[in-house]
Symmetry: C2
Subunit: 347 residues, 2 copies
């Protein structure tokens, strides 16, 4: 297996990226990593070249670059070259911790969408603090700012394959994030999406879920439009951090007793941070393009890069993309038909 790595993407690139690759290499002896970026800088952090190949380029995409423009104009950037390698069949998957929008654009315009799918979705895997499974997958968390009901239905299908093949959940429970649990809740798009999901017998749709319930392990796959999904994902991060901070401050300000308690609880807190750290689950996956595209958090350290690469290896191994492509190939006709019908309704 070959994974194309954008060695220059991310706040801690190339150091943490290169170190993460070196760590992942130990767990993935069958994998060759092709690192794209500044050769001399990359080599600074390498001990040996076992299973690692460097393709030198001076150009890179920054966090400030306008995504689509950057992909079109910076043809020799480390990210574009990594995506191009996948497109050309020189690699099986692409990894980056860089500009998310640019990576989405690279996935769409260089690697390309799976035939029959309008919009890819970006996943995030989050901890379930109750229930039988340790975590759940939510999509779309930001690949699309606007979504139609049909896109939400496609996200459910993508999520169902991801849950089954990569998360190894049997018949994953799929829920639609909505502003109420009743079937008739939400705006026009979510009402329509509910019906599409309810009528799709190929998925285990359990109905609407409210954002209050997300961390309670009620669903294995949560389907949402990219705008709401992005808001909720960032809100979980922010609220969880704020709460831990609040608990700490309250302890420290509640006198000696509290301070003692604080010391005693140090280990408890590190356990909690560990549990909430969803980068353990790897990166965000762009589902619906012709090859696995994994995006690690911009601030990722070597360990998080390693986790994301191991996850990406799992995705390639699982033949997820081929299964998705076959599915949409088969359903292409019926999907096209339903689009035609919807057009007619709307006109």
């Amino acid at each position: 297996m070959k994974i194309a790595v954008d060695a220059m993407g991310g706040d801690n690139a190339p150091e943490e990226i290169v170190k993460g690759v070196a760590e992942a290499r130990e767990s993935l002896p069958d994998t060759e990593f092709i690192l794209y970026g500044k050769k001399e800088e990359i080599e600074k952090y390498m001990t040996d070249f076992k299973n690692i190949k460097i393709v030198h380029t001076d150009e890179m995409i920054t966090m400030e670059d306008e995504p689509v423009k950057a992909i079109r104009r910076k043809k020799n950037s480390s990210m574009v070259l990594a995506a191009q390698a996948v497109k050309n069949g020189d690699a099986d998957a692409v990894f980056s911790a860089g500009n998310t929008g640019a990576l989405l654009a690279a996935g769409l315009f260089i690697i390309g969408r799976i035939k029959g799918l309008d919009r890819p979705g970006m996943t995030a895997t989050l901890p379930s603090l109750a229930g039988n499974n340790d975590n759940f997958t939510m999509l779309d968390v930001g690949a699309n700012a606007e979504s139609k009901a049909k896109n939400l239905h496609d996200f459910a299908i993508l999520g169902n394959f991801y849950g089954t093949n990569v998360m190894h959940v049997t018949n994953p429970r799929i829920a639609l994030l909505n502003n109420g649990t009743e079937y008739d809740k939400g705006d026009k798009i979510h009402k329509e999406a509910y019906q599409l999901l309810k009528n799709d017998e190929s998925i285990n749709f359990i109905g609407n879920i409210e954002s209050r319930e997300l961390l309670n392990g009620t669903a294995d796959v949560v389907v949402t439009d990219g705008f709401t999904g992005n808001a909720v994902l960032k809100n979980i991060e922010g609220t969880a951090l704020s709460m831990l901070k609040l608990v700490k401050e309250t302890i420290m300000n509640s006198g000696v007793k509290g301070k003692m308690g604080g010391l005693l609880l140090k280990s408890a807190f590190s356990q909690i941070k560990e549990k909430m750290d969803y980068s353990k689950q790897g990166g965000a996956v762009l589902l619906g393009v012709k090859a696995p595209v994994v995006k690690a958090h911009g601030s990722s350290n070597a360990n998080q890069v390693k986790n994301a690469l191991i996850q990406e290896h799992e995705i390639v191994d699982s033949k997820l993309v081929k299964n998705l492509a076959d599915y949409f190939e088969i359903h292409l006709q019926s999907i096209k038909q339903s689009e035609v019908d919807k057009e007619n309704e709307n006109n």
Copy 2:
């Protein structure tokens, strides 16, 4: 002042409602409370009738009732009669802990919108865990499932008046909840709303805010569409509770040391719950109708009912509704014009 109270709305009605009214009465000697509901049940929980009048009705709206139908058909329900009293000038404001959708419908169809305003917005006041102010107000948190850019602009104006007159913040910092801080982030509606807010010199617009930042005291008023606002509000509740639960469980499962710590931290935890309990701030306010409409959480106890009634008294005192009506009266022409312009753009 007279406040019309739906005594039968909420999970703990009428007991906690009646007890809450009795408590509020002590802090609000100038206020008469008109309680609508089953006389004999209400009287069970009353010690005396000072400043309290009961209007008997057997009919009530349940949590299961379809909002608009319920308002139209249950003409003698406690909620409809309370709203009708405000409409008829027999009361200055209406309070309910009952069916939120029905209360929205009552506000819209019985009390009526302020002239010149298309859509009222529902507020929630949440704690700021950092920064100079103790809390911030977010709207719309669910009055509307679909919103146009103009509605978001109106929510900012409503929020600006609320922040100034009721929260007593000078020149409140107003931010737009979006999926990135840059001006060009979000879907079409949020991009358009950003421009409307930026060009409105009557408000202190500080730009986009991401949901990650909400609890950090960055803004005094957060403007959002009702669908995203509802999702984020419920997500803050759910994540905060999950985190406290997780901290407790981790303590309890981390051995004797942990258990000791847990005991030592009991007080810290109650302080935190106190800080996060935004019902302290009162209920949700439906802004943009011709009289104050306050909705307390369905599970409210007497103390939370009391807080919401004191807040409602403050709103009536502040002449908020009159100020809003005057504002929209004056701006009616220009608003209509901008609507015409928008129509033309769209066609």
